[in-house]
Amino acid sequence: MAKSVIAEARDIQLAKELIELGARLQVLEAETRLSREKLLRLYKEIQGKSPPKGMLPFSTDWFMTWQPNIHASLFMSIYRYIDKSMELEQIEVVLKAYRLYREHIKAHGMEEVLSITRAWRLVKFFDAGMLTTTACRGCGGQFVVHTFELTDDYVCGLCNVPSRAGKTKRRLQEQLAAV
């Protein structure tokens, strides 16, 4: 079948947006029908370097640790809001939700914990039924959990902040710099 030029143009635009947000090559391969060679060339042209090699992180456990869980839950809330509001292709929803997530993080001067690749993986884990959300007993917000976890009494990491939470390297450096 002859490739449609318009479809290819759309794929290039999509790949460009994803690369600009820092997506890994695997994401581009899954979401577009462009050849690997073309994607590599596009990547180099936009990022000025070759894409990182190696496999994508495949574990759902990362999303369960304190800081990633909060960021993933915020992203997922935005994702679902947009998904409910309009009929869009899934990757469009991921892009829009990710931009809004990043905007929020920037506005509050926080660290960007969730990469576009992680966000994309997160949505795929939801599709595969490996992850879902549950309501926190304290605040009623929806938080990312493993699908078959017992969550009747779930309390989120924001209602019950662990004592070491937020003590990131960056924060420590800022505190040292202030001294």
Partner: protein, 107 residues
């Protein structure tokens, strides 16, 4: 502040709100719906307003836009300060994103 001045200022806020909403809807509909907290129906109504209609709607003695949340928990998070303020704001955003959009009620 005189009553006339108050009405002028209300009209100006209404006008800015409607014009900004229209521009946002025009630029990116899905994103605008998230930012405005409005349903597709309401967004469609705002989108189709003519300039004359906007001016008429804005010239009211009431503000046409209100808060998008009523929950105590969100208010408490937004007004909290101290060392956990950053976490509280993140928490508030998460809860606001989870709240349903404002729907148009059928006549």
């Amino acid at each position: 502040m005189s009553r006339d001045q108050l009405l002028d200022e209300i009209r100006e806020v209404n006008l800015s709100y409607l014009l900004l909403a229209q521009r946002m809807i025009h630029e990116d509909r899905a994103e605008a719906m998230y930012r405005l907290g409005l349903s597709e129906q309401v967004v469609e109504i705002i989108e189709k307003l003519t300039m004359a209609q906007i001016i008429k709607i804005a010239s009211s003695n009431l503000l046409i836009c209100g808060f998008r949340f009523n929950e105590d928990v969100i208010w408490n998070l937004l007004t909290s300060h101290g060392k956990d303020a950053e976490i509280a704001r993140m928490h508030a955003s998460l809860l606001m994103a989870g709240a349903p959009a404002l729907e148009a009620t059928p006549a």
